[in-house]
Symmetry: C2
Subunit: 333 residues, 2 copies
Amino acid sequence: MRVGIDAMGGDSAPAVEVKGAVAARQFLGPQDRIVLVGREDAIRRQLSGTKDPQGHIDVVHADQAVGMDEAPVEALRGKPRSSLAVMVQMHARGELDACISCGNTGAFVAAAQMRLRRLSGVHRPGIAVISPTLHGPVALCDVGANVNCRPQHLHQYGVMASVYMRSICGINRPRVGLLNVGAEEAKGNDLVKRTHELFRKDPHTNFIGNVEGRDLFGGVCDVVVCEGFVGNVMLKLIEGMANGLVQALLSVLNRQMPGATDAIEKAGQAIAARYDYNEYGGAPLLGVNGICIICHGASDYRGVMNAVRAAREYATCQANQQITALLAGRDEG
Amino acid sequence: MRVGIDAMGGDSAPAVEVKGAVAARQFLGPQDRIVLVGREDAIRRQLSGTKDPQGHIDVVHADQAVGMDEAPVEALRGKPRSSLAVMVQMHARGELDACISCGNTGAFVAAAQMRLRRLSGVHRPGIAVISPTLHGPVALCDVGANVNCRPQHLHQYGVMASVYMRSICGINRPRVGLLNVGAEEAKGNDLVKRTHELFRKDPHTNFIGNVEGRDLFGGVCDVVVCEGFVGNVMLKLIEGMANGLVQALLSVLNRQMPGATDAIEKAGQAIAARYDYNEYGGAPLLGVNGICIICHGASDYRGVMNAVRAAREYATCQANQQITALLAGRDEG
């Protein structure tokens, strides 16, 4: 397969993207290729000195780049030769089998929707983030592709994220929870109440009912369905809180045990590693007719490397074919 | 002043409520009274043996109790003699100056709206929770009083929570942030975009623009405005994550430093104390024509005791008069 990487996307582009591409060759077969899309001179400079004996890595030039804070649709319209736009166009034309970007998430989602279109039967694509917990990985979907949700969208997030968790994480019948303000069926706003009904009527999804914010880390479900606004807020809250809380705890410990600085630092690193998004290979955009893996803007090379692995697994397990089989032709408005 | 406490509300009622009432006498003047509302025999049993030399504590009998998981409006309708309903009715009749409950939050909010009514100019009451952070306290409003928000509601949450933070926490011009999925003005759903406009047009509020989930702990603002669904999810996520993360870190440390169990445990307790909701005296329901302090269902006696202190401070600083002065007569639909 041919995996495209937007080499100009992340906070440390293109260094991180190139290093990640080189490291990712371990996951590729002899016929596979990685295509770095972006400013060719900058990419070649990063590549020089690295060994690519089997010629795994190609470079496609694109002289524009979408900034992290640009308005998505305007950026795509104004920069048709951006690395992101060129990469997604190549995927749409069949010249790539998957795309990876650490750049502007909104622009990536918009480009994917415009160029790749949706899978048959899918109303809206959603981003699924895998969050590590003490009880195993939990998928949170959507975390920001769609901030004006209808019940059908939320229901489909549950269906699609279940396919992902079963295929990629090997969880047999993923337990799907609907994020709400209480466990009781009657709780919540209109959106979740109507979504609840859709899940109740769906015999194919292992729906366990409402879950609350605290349940995300409680091991009660494998998939948490929510609309993109809430999911995005939660994701960033987790990130901010993990940093803040670990730092607070370490500073208290350092005061109490001045001789144990090394051990405390190691423990902090061990926890940080457990919650490290770089280990999880990015978040798939579920529901588009293609494979799009969204990485954190601050990813290091391991984030990019593991995104290549995720793209390969996504293709191997035929997640999109499974989603289409479940959703195409279903009539739920 | 006369402060009512729903003695049948919390997870450990009435023991926690009675112990909290006894401990709270330190915050009261000679003319002040605490009124415990609930099953008189159970309350008297808890009170027996405690000393109340100045007769600070009265008991009002109510033979029904609203359960934690009951549907609010149905519970109030079906149990007119519940401790919660009786307490709020007494407040509405002027026999109490404030109410405190560790019980069913939805029922407390519903009872307050029905019996106390809203302050002049207020569209919807909102619950403000004070969250401790490394950079000082931050108010999050609303955390679940209202899960079908309009922009006017969100704007008023900012106004009311600012009054609270200024009056109770002594923050001069509280910085108000609007919770969103990105810092840029154009981000977010229709609700937050329209709310953003209302804040921009309001010269009385120190609005700093959009904030993200991670900013809650970053010291960038003193008030975070959000609709009740998102706020409730965040609040419970913080609770679940704090427990999970501290436990994870402590277990790693214990493995690495088997000899330091005591010091590690103390550090854990120090962090837990910093994030202990019992220290913060409950969450005020802002916008009702009365003083309603909502405590966590799992509060211990300190939670109840500090809620009495909070109720007294709320009355002393005349927060409701300030809110009315800011909102009454304003025309924003």
